[in-house]
Amino acid sequence: MTARPLMDVRGLSKAFPAPQGLLARLRGEPRRAVQALSDVHLSVQRGETLGIVGESGCGKSTLARCLVRLQDADQGEVRYEDLDVLRLRGLDLRRYNRRVQMIFQDPYSSLNPRMTVGQMLREALSVHRLRPRAEQDARIQELLTLVGLPPAAAGRAPHEFSGGQRQRVGIARALALEPDCLIADELVSALDVSVQAQVVNLLLELQERLGLTVLFVAHDLRLVRHLSHRVAVMYLGRVVEVAPTEDLFRAPKHPYTQALLAAAPTLDPARRADAPAITGELPSPLNVPSGCAFRTRCPHAFARCAAERPLPTDVAGAQVACHLYSAPDGAVPG
């Protein structure tokens, strides 16, 4: 972690007010909130792929949306090179969005059903004045070739494409702005297994060619392991562990990371566990446990975990937010 990060997230927090019934409102009950992000720290290096994993409600999608300003964070700071991302407005925000693009999850709703692929790409080029009108057609063809679509695709509407092809269109639309950072939220999770690999390869190739920085938000651990240089694990709005990919998968340090990896089904029928990796349900995000959010399901939890929220600590090249590693004589789980 020597180079200055491309993107630096510091203390990012975001809460969504929970829907409240009329009766509760009349009784004057305090309005409850879902803490989607809670004091998130994260840095992204230029050219790397940072995987962000976690279960539903862990805040990984909210984080992605805050980073492209689809959502406004409540607190914290995001630095992109010298830009103070959360304070950008108007033209500056559009310039930032040109550099940091997002690819969406749902190949069926992420493309306007009433526009052809060519119209979508041309719009992106025109709005940002990236090419004079005369050169737009050539650029559109270039983009289609780049994502492995035939030239004729420009004249077709989204409904004429398969799910995998639509994701390619989404990628082409993002690349039209010549971004240097792509945020992919569950890029392939809506696709069939045999098609997923096609789109993953495309992402790998593009990253190689264009030197893109990628934030790969996903719940598929196998995929994240394959693609990422580093991985951040989130739980109930907090980042619990960030580590280089191989370290994280070989020797997970946070008890939640350990549980998550153990729970993911392996492809080896010979390695089959008898008991679940972890018991208990995810706590409601309306009611996050005090101290460490994971303590209610953690096999190692002790008194301090309820009293005090663990801060990220450097442990052998990883950042881990767990009292086992900050306690002077804490037993390190294996």
Binding site: T49, E55, S56, S162, G163, G164, D192, V193, S194, V195, Q196, A197, Q198, V200, N201, L204, E205, H219, L221, R222, L223, R225, H226, L227, T245, E246, F249, A259, L260, A262, A263, A264, P265, T266, L267, D268, P269, A270, R272, A273, D274, A275, P276, A277, I278, T279, E281, L282, S284
Partner: protein, 333 residues
């Protein structure tokens, strides 16, 4: 497939669904058996016909959908059974759980009422005895303080708990066969793990057979004894789970396993299957997988290859079954 008498024997199952664009032949000549106490995985991608097969077994299709073939359950052909015989089988001896517990549970009845309804219909239990048994069932599926939760409504349960409750309802009649349609697809990975372990434990304790439909090969590897791979409405391969992951005997199974990340170096290109799932209205001649297959040859294009035994307890519908490489060491993680 020579084995002790199967609990369920499906022969030449066909399901046809009329649509405005033409009749979809969704399940095409599927044949397989399930032994008592066995967990069979039915795996395939969208449109492979795996869920339709399961629903056809449960007799959930009505006209204009047509189901043909034989489905022999405990010696009785279900497809030719009367409505009364169906009633005695469906729900009683064959239970079913779904992907979306919230839509499968009745939101205006308590979980306890729904379990007791099944107990009354199929076990003849009423009143206090039914309540006792319902609490036992919730306890069996790992729901804490089961007695208190009998009075809860489905919306008061979390996703994982709802799936447990649905399993409890299905188990109330003590079925000999449980049909599970993507039971963990909507769940988080730690909760999925819990539900899969629960299914394995219940299978053990109740000596129940299970057919598990999923698109996730990891789930198959972690839970099933035998696997049936479906593609384009047909069975491509059936095999014991270990053998399938070690040496698939169908080019489609091989391609599917190879396309998963983890088989090569990190950030190396994956090995996708080119193209997309077949269009059931315009199937290619011969093997449905041939247009996407790396091994396809002229032999694949004639008649559709039948599912034939290729080894003890294994069958494949691949012309090149004997020539496919094994995967030892390639698939990890």
């Amino acid at each position: 497939m020579s084995a002790p008498p199967a609990l369920l024997q499906v022969r030449d199952l066909n399901v046809r669904m009329p649509t405005p664009a033409g009749t979809l032949h969704v399940v095409r000549g599927v044949t397989f058996g399930v032994q008592p106490g066995e967990m069979l995985g039915l795996v395939g991608e969208s449109g492979s016909g795996k869920s339709v097969t399961l629903r056809a077994l449960m007799g959930l299709y009505r006209r204009p959908v047509t189901v043909s073939g034989t489905v022999e359950f405990a010696g009785q052909d279900l497809l030719r059974a009367s409505e009364a015989q169906w009633q005695a089988t469906r729900g009683a001896q064959i239970g079913m759980i779904f992907q979306e517990p919230m839509s499968a549970l009745n939101p205006v009845l308590t979980v306890g009422t729904q379990i007791m309804e099944n107990l009354r219909t199929h076990r003849g239990l009423r009143g206090r005895a039914a309540a006792e048994r319902a609490a036992e069932l919730l306890d069996l599926t790992g729901i804490p303080s089961p007695r208190a939760r009998l009075n809860d409504y489905p919306h008061q349960f979390s996703g994982g708990m709802r799936q447990r409750a649905m399993i409890a309802i299905a188990l109330a009649s003590e079925p000999r066969l449980l049909l599970a349609d993507e039971p963990t697809t909507a769940l988080d990975v730690t909760i999925q793990d819990q539900i899969l372990r629960l299914l394995l434990r219940l299978r053990e304790e109740l000596n129940m057979s299970v057919i598990l439909v999923t698109h996730d090969l990891g789930v198959i590897a972690q839970t099933c004894d035998r696997v049936a791979v479906m593609y384009g409405g047909r069975l491509m391969e059936t095999a014991p789970v270990g053998a399938l992951f070690r040496e698939p005997r169908h080019a489609y199974s091989l391609g599917l396993l190879r396309s998963l990340p983890g088989s090569g170096a990190r950030r190396a290109p994956l090995q996708p299957i080119p193209g997309g799932p077949p269009n059931l209205l315009a199937l290619p001649p011969g093997c449905a997988f041939s247009p996407r297959c790396a091994y396809a040859s002229g032999a694949c294009l004639g008649a559709e290859p039948p599912l034939v035994p290729v080894a003890p307890d294994r069958a494949s519908a691949c012309v090149h079954a004997a020539a496919l490489p094994s995967l030892t060491g390639e698939v990890s993680a």
